[in-house]
């Protein structure tokens, strides 16, 4: 079988093709019509550039999966009143954080009606709908969307500058002044350009998700919601010791539940990913929410979680990378955001690319403006501030010991021990720490560390 495959080596497996100084077909090629690519195409087209937006799936969003909430504030500046037309499932008004052990659950639940009306805060959506909608905004601005087409490699000129892409279609070479690689977490283009390492399991997690059918009224009733109100739960613990966490969020007539699992931990644990979802679904605190639900779709996707310290260089001659390709997902404990970072980086990439194309200068030096602008914005400012978060969130004690510690502490606080008198809180903390193998010194040290990271 391998022999038959030989003629086609696939994306990113061959060095860039050198081409002469033929003129560019378009100003900007954006590879990938996800949120980063669509935003880049939108910004570049609005800045007056001619743009081709390539998508390997049959429609934008067909290859994409996310795990919870899209925060649309970044869209205010480019698409005023976007909330009136965005394909939303529900607007999140309830945010819960759950700490789980096999039999215990501690939930911090927050609700505000402020998020139930314009301009809203977060929303749940189906990516097939959301990404198609955003790509539609790019084409409305003048970008040309080409679907079902894989960018298999980079075109380079004699000096090694990126001058376009090869696609898997006949006569599929397309030249541009600037290429924006928004081709997702596996970004073969960023890998080919040398900006990303070939495989980097340490800084990636696997997200697996089930979308479960439940009637709208049942969801409203079980989760205490009305109309378009929605809920998002993040969970820590009960992942069989694999660093990561769980999530659950409501759509209009489905509930999505899933787990995010660190790749090295998953590989070492020899546990199948869907079993972790089954564990979460069977948890006594979750199961009642999902009674009678049927699986509508099962999905999996990788998530880059390296954070600021493992972000690649974002530009080289003729090439910018944006979104997941550049590791832009923010996985910092209580803040789990990705789509907004993709859109934010895409908007800047598109504008910088269009300006570079207009100026006739797509050098690495000129494109460095991309990073400079991102540093000024939330995209890299947040990442920089929370640079220590991924490491501490996925650390052994946070993942394996503290869920049990916290749950045991709360359980002992609320367990009435009559006729024994109530023990002091510090004694309970000491007991819970000991039972979960944590010394108070470690606890204090981690507390300080967390305080420093999230200050």
């Amino acid at each position: 079988m391998a022999d038959e495959q030989a003629p086609y080596a696939g994306p990113g497996t061959s060095p860039g093709t050198a081409v002469g100084d033929r003129p560019a077909d378009v100003d900007v090629i954006v590879v990938g019509a996800g949120p980063a690519g669509a935003a880049a195409a939108l910004a570049a087209a609005r800045a007056g550039a001619s743009v081709v937006l390539l998508e390997r799936g049959p429609f934008p969003g067909s290859k994409n999966v996310y795990g919870g909430v899209i925060y649309g504030r970044i869209l205010d500046a480019v698409l005023p009143n976007w909330w009136e037309e965005v394909p939303v499932e529900r607007w999140v008004v309830r945010r819960s954080t759950m700490v789980l052990t096999e039999t215990q659950a501690l939930t911090v639940d927050f609700r505000t009606q402020t998020w139930a009306g314009p301009p809203y805060n977060g929303m749940t959506a189906y990516r097939a709908d959301f990404d198609s909608w955003l790509a539609g905004k790019a084409t409305a601005a003048g970008a040309r969307l080409v679907t079902s087409t894989v960018a298999t490699g980079l075109l380079r000129d004699a000096a090694g500058r990126v001058v376009g892409v090869r696609t898997d279609r006949t006569d599929g070479e397309l030249r541009a002044r600037v290429v924006i690689a928004a081709d997702g977490v596996n970004s073969f283009l960023a890998k080919e350009s040398g900006l990303l390492p070939k495989a980097d399991p340490k800084h990636h997690t696997l997200g697996v998700k089930e979308v479960l059918s439940l009637p709208r009224e049942v969801i409203d009733e079980r989760f205490g919601l009305r109309g378009q109100e929605g809920l998002d739960i993040e969970m820590l613990g009960n992942t069989r010791g694999i660093p990561g966490g769980g999530f659950l969020y409501t759509n209009s007539d489905t509930v999505s539940i899933g787990a995010v699992l660190a790749l090295p931990g998953l590989a070492a644990a020899k546990v199948r990913p869907e079993e972790i979802i089954a564990d979460l679904k069977a948890h006594p605190a979750i199961a009642p929410y999902l009674r009678g639900a049927t699986v509508k779709e099962y999905a999996a996707h990788l998530i880059p979680e390296g954070g600021y310290d493992h972000m690649p260089a974002l530009a080289t001659d003729g090439l910018l990378i944006a979104g997941d390709a550049a590791g832009m997902t923010l996985a910092a404990g209580i803040w789990l955001e990705g789509v907004n970072f993709a859109i934010g980086s895409g908007l800047v990439a598109g504008r910088v690319a269009a300006e570079a194309a207009a100026a006739g200068d797509a050098s690495k030096k000129r494109l460095a403006r991309y990073r400079d602008e991102l540093e000024k914005q939330f995209v890299l400012a947040d990442h920089k501030r929370l640079r220590g978060a991924p490491e501490i969130i996925l650390s052994e004690r946070i993942q394996r010991r503290y869920p049990g510690l916290v749950a045991d502490l709360v359980e002992s606080l609320f367990t009435v021990t009559n006729p024994e008198p109530k023990p002091g809180a510090l004694a309970l903390l000491r007991r819970a720490a000991k039972r979960n193998g944590v010394s108070l010194r470690e606890l204090a040290r981690d507390g300080l560390r967390i305080g420093k990271v999230f200050r």
């Binding site: 934008p60 965005v86 539609g136 070479e173």
Partner: protein, 328 residues
Amino acid sequence: MTNATGDGARGGGPLVVVCLRVTDLRPEVDPLTGVVTRSAHGAGLSAADEAALERALAIARAWSGRVLAVAAGSPIVEGPLRAAAALGAAVLRVAWPPHDEADGHGAAPGAASAVNAASAVDPEPFGPRAAYLADLAGDTRALAEVLVDAIRTVGEPTLVLCGDLSPDRGTGALPAQLAHALGAAQALGLVSLTPTDDGWLLAERRLDGGRRERLRVPTPAVCSAEAAGLRLRRAALPALLAAGDAPVPAARPTRPAVGAVEVVDVRAYRPRARVVPPPAGATPRDRLLALTGALVAHDPPTIIGPTDAGQAADALVAYLVRNGYLTA
């Protein structure tokens, strides 16, 4: 009425028409209510329809002819039609079933949806449910006549191709009705179709027992064929970019979609429960035997043949008479 566009329409040569059925290839069917929900994300051509387009392109090339791809439906059919245009076919949409499309239903996915993406997600991308019901009720003959009217605005077809199977009740009787409306020969359910040097077509069709029959088909003809492993070629990138978002011409049907049946509603098929009397017997084993009919003598199956067609037919008729299905 309208002019079809695309390179294939220009120049002379015989006209090869391919009729495409665009539908959600993975619709959601509610198991309790039978309600079918079709999403724009699944809109596409069945393998047989794609193969029909591929055959049309190959045959037109052999004949130095041109290809016209026709699809009936809401504007959602424009996506696959644009893809056909990128392959060099002229394209034409027939607005079907006839209803007012002014409400913006069925914007094509991808590139075209951008233009009128005013609303988030069209809940009925394939047109309103009422129109779908009307289409169910309307007989295929009305659609065939409207299609033939539309095709004749481009030219007189030498060959009309259909996929032999569509996931959406598509092409069952349509090819035969098309042949009737055109006054053309028909060969349906084929596995292969190749043009011969003398301007005829050589077709192959499956028979029982792994045998095939070979047909020589004159033109004009209407043929339907299965995919039979044939895959649609992919458009070259320059052609795809050139085809771009070009508008797909639409033909408005001039005849009503009359049907003999009025469909009020569609439901899942739920057969009535049959009452089975409790089996007789003193022990559970006896009751089980009575219920299953095990250990009861049955007539062994009759084996007829191998024999010729006439004798086989006689044997079948004799069997039906013997068992009271036919009167002698």
